[in-house]
Structures are given as C-alpha cells and as structure tokens.
Amino acid sequence: MGGYILKRLVSAIPVLLGITVIVFLIMALIPGDPATAILGSYATPENVDRLNRHLGLDRPLWQQYFVWVGNLLQGDFGRSFALNRPVLDEILDRFGATLVLAGTAFMLCAIIGIVAGVVSAARQYRFADKAITAAVILGISVPSFFLGMMMILLFAVKLRWFPVSGMYSMFGGGDLADLIRHLAMPAIALSLVATGVVARLSRAAMLEVLRLDFVRTARAKGVPERRVIWGHALRAAMVSIIPVLGLQAGFVLSGAVYIEIVFQWPGIGRMLVDAILKRDILLVQGGVVFVAACYVGFNIVVDVVQAWLDPRIKT
C-alpha cells in the first residue's frame, strides 16, 4: 500500500505541472499590457515599464513561466495589489472557510446520496424508489444559487431558524454551535445537486451488483436480506461509487463559489470572484492553482481509498 501511495504521488507531479502551464497560458491571454491593467489607464509610461520589469514581464514567456513556478514552489504566490498583502496569506485565511463548507457538503452528499441510492435500488419501482427518483430529478435541476436564495427567504427570513448569512455571528458567537447554525443552510444548498447525482449513480451501481452471482450466493447461505443489501451488495457497489464521489468533490468545490456569494461565506470562491471583478490577476492565478492542487491531492486520496477497498487493484 505504501508503494502504491508513493506511486500515485509521483504520478501527480506532471498533472500539477500541467495545471500551472494551463493557468499560466490562460493568464497570458490577457489582452494588452498587464501592467497597464494593474496601474490603470492614468499610469505614466515610466511606471508601467518599472512594473513590467519588476514583474518580469519584459522577458520571454517561457522564462516568465519558470520564474513563476519557481516562486510558487518557494511559497511566493506574489502580492495582491487590491488587498496589498501576500496572495498566499489571503488564500490560507480563506481556505479554511471553504474547506469547512465544501467538506460538510461533501460528507452530506456522500452519505445521503449513497443511502438514498441504496434504498431506491432495494425498493425498486415501489413508492420509496419513485419518491427518491422524483427528488433526485428536482435536486439535480435546481441551480444551487437559486436554492440558496429561496432557503434564506424561507428558513432565515420567514421561519427565523437559521441566520441569513456569514460564518459566525457578529456578536457573541464564534463557538461550534454558532458555526453549525451558520453552516446548515449553505452546506445543504451546496450538497443538493451532488447528492442527487450520487443517489442516481448509487442506485444504478446497486442494481448492477444485485444481479450478480455472489448476491445469490449470499442469499443461498441464508444471509438476512438487510445484510445482503447493505453488506454484500453495497460493499461491491462502492467500487463504482467511489470514483463518482471523487468527481463530485470537484462539483461541490465549484458550487461553493456560488454558495459563498449567496450566503456571504468568507471562503476562497468569493475571494476569486471579487478578485476577478477587481482584476487582481495574481490573486486569481494563485487561488486557481492552489485549489486545483488541493483537488488533485483529494483525488489521490480517493484512489488510495479505492485501492484499499478493492484488493483486486494491483497496488
């Protein structure tokens, strides 16, 4: 297993390099002169030149790339001009909030999605299956930002069960209970689409597995039906559910951008959108690379879990 983990880690290096190349190339598309963009149209030519030299923009593209990657590796993501602080500091400050939100939503989508999918498959064509299928269709069609707004209207404004927005109360909050109260709505709104997708694929995976011979063997042994479904069949279906979860993590992370805006959650998604609107290029660049790298790391974890669950994979 240790060897397999190492192998996966090594295989991530080219992917990470690829990510930096792609981000770098996209940023090189910026029309006109970035220094002018940063300094605004009233900048003097001398200032523009100075900034260009300072940013290394007078050198050939490939040199700029290596300088940039070299800096990234040393933890130097550059400076955000809009916030006037190092990009990495800002990212690290914001990342925790996103991790809490996306992590919670991910757990919700994994647990609820799998349970719903299994129940749906086990009760195929019965009421529970039809109800879950209908909920799934609705769930995967609601834009999460619209759902978030409607939840605010109903649960925060009308019923006053949850606070409207933010991560902690302005006064007197700050403990775990306060966090959970603030987290509930955005996490649910964020998880809904992914829950639907996971439920749908879990149902399909279970239906595939339930027809296999070893399920009949379990029944022939006299294993109670509950154990056949939640033990034998689910265990085998997990092998095809896990990769879906890995993919859904990307969707949850993506959806977090909208949800952070709607619920004013102080996470990295909101930071990115603000940075784009303020044309704070280095902050966008750093944020994108950072989150993409985390996602690559998460997918390694998914692969390792998969290998651990399925002894047939050569480790």
């Binding site: 981000v23 064509y125 707004m149 339930l210 993506s254 784009i276 290029i281 669950l309 047939r312």
Partner: protein
C-alpha cells in the same frame, strides 16, 4: 425512429419535459413579436410592482422594468448562449476526439494527456480563470463555459472513434487508397454524430446553468442586457423586500434545466436496450409465488420432494415456462443427477427449491417443494432464510463469480456459520479452518486470509463446497459445480463430493449436462428437456439401456465416461424455445423416430422405477416395475 419516439413518449416524464421545453423555446422564439414592454426601459416610479399589477403581469424590478418582458428576453438570451456554448464545445471537442482517436499513437497520447490536465480542474476554476483573463462579459462567459466542456466531448468522441476506426469498413476505405480526411468525413463522422448528439443532450442543461451561474456572479452578461442569471443576480439585493424579482427568473432556470434533464434521461433510456427488456430489475430476496391451484399432494416419498413444480419467466408480454411441471424426490444419502442442455430448466428447478430464482422475471406458478413434508413454496421469507444454507445448501457453477470478490474467504465461511448459529467471531473462524481441512485445502490457516481471486479455480470451488457444508445441511444442491474446472480438478471435486456424501449421509441433487459426471456420482438420474422430465431411473440402467431417444443421444455423445467434457450442444438441432412449445412431444422436431401422433396430445411420464415420456421408447420398460414405484 418512430420506435424511438414511441419509447420516448411512453416515458411520461420525458414527454412532459419535451412539452415544457417546447413551450419555452417557442416563447423565446416569438418574444420579439409579442406586444411587450421594452425590456430595458426604466421607470423608477413603478419600482417593485408585485405580480398581477396593472399592465405588468409579473410585476416590475428594482428599476421599474417590466419583469415579463425581461424574463422572456432573458430566457431567449440564456437559451441562445447555452446552446451556442454546447455547440462550440461539441464541435471542437468532437474534432479533437476524432483526430486523436483516428490518428492514434503519439498524437493521441499527447492530446489526451492535455485533455486529462483540463479535467484535473474543478470546472468552475477553469471558467473563472478564463473570464479573469478575458474580462467579464457574456461572450467571454460563453467561451469559458464552452472551453470547460470541451474535454468531456473530446474524451467521449475519442473512445467511439477508436472503436470505429478498427472496423472493417474503415480498413477497407484505407486500403482503397482514400486519404485520412476523406475517411474521417465519410466513414467515421456519420458514425459518431449520434454519440455527439446524445452527449449534447445530456450536457446542454448544464451549460445553460453554468452560463447563468457566471452571469449571476456578475461575470457574464453586463447591464442593461440581462440573461436569466444576471436577472437573478441583480434581484438578490432585494431578495427580502421584493422576492418575486428573484423567484421569476429562478423558476424559469429551474424549468429549463429540469425539462432538458427529463428529456435527456428519456432519450438515454429509449436508447439503452437493457432498460427496454427490464433486465435491470433487481432480483428480490425470494422468488415470487403466484400459485393458482392449491399445492398438489405429495406423490412420492423422500427427504426433499418436488411435485409438479412450475416456474415461469415473465418478460413483458411474453411468458416462458422454464419449468413446466417437474416431479422429483431425493432420499437421505441419495444422489440424484438432473441432466439436460442449457435452457432445459434444470438450474431453474434447482433454484426454485429455496426460492432463489431471480424475480423479476421468475415466478413460481404451481406445484410444491417439500422438505421433510413441509411445503416451502410460498413459505414466508423468514422461514426460507432459516433453511437456506442451514438445511439446504447450494454449490454454484463458477466460484469466481459466486464468491464475494471483496471479502476474504475465511470471512465468507465464518459468515455462513454465524447467520445460523450464535457463535463468536473467533469460534466461527476456527470452524472455518476446520471446514477448509474437510475439503482438503492445504495450509488452511494461510488460505483463510486470501481473497477469491488469489486462489486457483479448484481451490475456490473447494471453498464453495466448504461454505455449503458449514452448517451440516441435509440436502446439497450442486448446480454444475465442476463445469468451470479442468478435467483433473473436476475428478478431484467429484471424489470429494462422493466422500462427503458417504461420510455425512448428505442427499445431493446434482445438476449437470455431462453424463460422464452422472455415471461417477449419482445413484439415479432424471433427464430434463424443455422444462420437463423426459426420463428417470437408476443411473446404471439408464446408461445401459436408455429409453427416451433424447437420452440415447445424450449418452452417445459422451465418448468415454468420466473423461468426456463434450457439451450437449453436440446434438443436432437446437433446444426448443420454452415460450412457445409445440403440442405433444417437445423433442419431436429433433427426433428421428417422430410420428404424427407424437405431435398431438400431451405425453405422460410413464413407468415405475424407470419412467419415460415417449410413445416409441428405445427400450421397452417392463410393466412389473410399476409395483416397485416409489
């Protein structure tokens, strides 16, 4: 095509989706012709009018603009942008996929590496990066969404192209000297277009949602122009005071995306042949029982008796009578061979005993299965579960697929014990080791931790047998347990079963298609054809002088008893289709001795210890045996 449309509309939800989407698209198309307020004219005096206000059916927004008009124009814009993004992504993605798939080799490798890199991003990060570079704006959002979706198309289309470019017609075109471009355009493209269309139908909803999302963030359409996303984004500020300005565009996005999703699901289902035949139905815990007549009285004596058992497969409108009235009996310590071609109903008979026939589609429609006198057809699930693996145990054909691939064999054995006996984990583990010793697996302490794929075929089947023995059953039902094994291993397994039967007094029902195996192991044999028993009797007598022409052919097929691995399919003619059997003898179409009478009425199974269902048997069975009938 018409079949496709019928299937699509038989799925009511898909039909609903098509209708809703159709209405929305038509409305969007005719919007410029409708007598609407201009969408961008502000009138701050009329801010936030509620829906149904005079002259403004859906009310007005924060600048007093007519919401209905803005909604329709916004819908128009959102649909156009979404479809455009889908089209761009499809065209570029397909082009990349076709070139990579057709060229193969290095080109393919490098291109697909690049595509994988793009897929390593959570999709929105890439879209945000592109918008950040190009600047906010609807056109740029469109480009971003299209680019983000290119990898999806490239991957799918490449896969299809690779499989197509190895087909004969492409090779033929290549040999006839056509250039690659011609081949791609004339041979490959027509075959990938359907895949492109399906991929588009499943993603266009997403793309509409994604562009709306970017606009919602303020990175898409810029004021005063508004698509649905930016309408929602602008309305967010007044969410609490004027919720209708948010609800109107939000519900429209929901309707569009949902109708596209429903339609897309319907398209996929209509194209997926497995869903049509209902093959994806999950088998239930026990076979359904729909017994019209009361259970027939027990006609024979034995530990396990089967009387006039009938099991059907209900496949849509067709019903196949897989088992059409089978009567059998097994006494303690006896081994009964049940032999027949595949499709003869022998396995279904065996599985019906403990209600293990997959249902749907299987249904037991008549007869009785009695274990020590207790009728099990229609017994409650709890009772069946108590007996399964406990008093009646099964061994199946292919131990690689019948053992759970992800559980250690020791755990699978221990579980078989623990579901019927309250013993500790450790104790069950010890017993599992003993079982492995009983089935002569060397080094059982080490093997207990192995997964099935780590064992040889013979070892796996020994594990299967050990599992069947784990609760000391009275009856063992072995469904072709040696078919998947090679001849030497087969002989070892048969020997093992024979020893176990003698040591433990097991009654065995042995399902096979090989008379050689029957000769080695079974006291009596029953021959099955088209769901019914055609001959039954003591093995040696049947072998020496088969009465039914079918049995005679089967025996003639075995070159040398015990070594023959020849399949029954060697008999000329095909086994009959059990959904529509001709009247009279089912074997008549393949029988050399068939006479007109054979095709007329029902032919009974007659005789005593030896019985045969034939008007002109090969061997005349002496009448005296009638008295010795069991």
């Amino acid at each position: 095509m018409s079949l496709f449309l019928r299937l699509l509309f038989r799925n009511r939800l898909a039909g609903f989706g098509a209708v809703v989407l159709g209405i929305i698209v038509v409305m969007a198309l005719v919007t410029p012709l409708l007598p609407l307020h201009p969408p961008n004219v502000t009138n701050t005096a009329n801010r936030f009018l509620r829906p149904l206000a005079e002259g403004h059916l859906l009310g007005t927004d924060h600048l007093g603009r007519d919401l209905l008009s803005r909604l329709l124009h916004g819908t128009r814009l959102s649909l156009a942008v979404g479809f455009a993004a889908a089209l761009i992504a499809a065209v570029i993605g397909a082009a990349i996929g076709i070139v990579a798939g057709y060229a193969g080799g290095r080109t393919d490798n490098v291109t697909m590496r690049g595509v994988d890199m793009l897929m390593a991003f959570p999709y929105i990060l890439l879209a945000l990066a592109i918008v950040a570079a190009l600047g906010p704006g609807l056109m740029n959002a469109l480009i971003a969404v299209a680019v983000v979706n290119i990898p999806f198309f490239a991957r799918n289309i490449r896969g299809v192209t690779v499989s197509i470019s190895h087909r004969e017609f492409v090779d033929a075109a290549r040999l006839s000297g056509l250039g690659p471009l011609r081949i791609i355009l004339t041979e490959v493209l027509p075959n990938v277009v359907p895949v492109i269309v399906i991929a588009m139908s499943t993603t266009v909803g997403w793309m509409i949602l994604e562009t709306a999302g970017l606009s919602f963030l303020g990175l898409g359409s810029q004021p005063p122009q508004a698509d649905l996303g930016s309408m929602l984004g602008e309305a967010r500020g007044a969410l609490i005071t004027a919720p209708h300005t948010s609800i109107v565009p939000g519900v429209m996005i929901l309707l569009i995306v949902m109708s596209i999703n429903l339609l897309g699901d319907g398209v996929r289902d209509a194209l997926d042949p497995r869903l049509r035949s209902g093959a994806l139905a999950r088998p239930m815990a026990a076979t359904l029982v729909d017994r019209k007549a009361p259970a027939p009285p027990a006609r024979t004596e034995g530990l396990l008796t089967i009387d006039d058992l009938r099991t059907d497969f209900r496949l849509g409108r067709r019903t196949a009578h897989a088992v059409g009235g089978v009567t059998l009996a097994i006494r303690p310590g006896e081994c009964l061979g049940l032999i027949g071609e595949s499709g003869s109903g022998k396995s279904v008979t065996a599985l019906s005993v403990m209600g293990l026939v997959a249902s749907p589609p299987g249904v037991i429609t008549g007869g009785a299965v009695r274990l020590a006198g207790e009728d099990l057809v229609g017994a409650p699930y709890g009772r069946l579960r108590d007996l399964r693996g406990n008093r009646v145990a099964y061994i199946f054909q292919d131990p690689l697929s019948t053992l759970h691939p992800l559980y250690r064999v020791g755990d699978q054995l221990a579980e078989a014990i623990r579901v019927h006996h309250a013993v500790s984990r450790a104790e069950a583990g010890e017993r599992a080791i003993k079982l492995l010793v009983d089935v002569q697996i060397p080094n059982p302490r080490a093997r207990i931790g192995a997964y099935p794929h780590q064992l040889s075929g013979g070892m796996r089947q020994r594990v299967g047998i050990a599992m069947a023995l784990s609760n000391d059953p009275d009856v063992l039902i072995a469904d072709e347990p040696t078919t998947a094994l090679d001849v030497t291993v087969q002989a070892q397994i048969l020997k093992l079963l024979d020893d176990l039967r003698r040591d433990r007094g097991l009654a065995i029902l042995f399902i096979t298609h090989d008379f050689g195996v029957v000769a080695q192991l079974c006291d009596r044999v029953a021959v099955m054809y088209a769901g019914r028993i055609v001959e039954e009797g003591p093995t040696q007598e049947v072998l020496d002088a088969p009465a039914h022409p079918y049995t005679a052919r089967l025996i003639a097929c075995v070159p040398e008893l015990g070594t023959g691995r020849r399949r029954l399919e060697a008999i000329s003619g095909l086994p009959p289709n059990v959904d529509d059997l001709p009247p009279g003898c089912a074997f008549a179409p393949r029988c050399d001795k068939a006479q007109p009478e054979c095709r007329q009425g029902e032919i009974p199974l007659e005789g005593g210890v030896r019985r045969v269902r034939c008007l002109y048997p090969e061997t005349h069975l002496p009448e005296t045996e009638l008295e010795a009938a069991p």
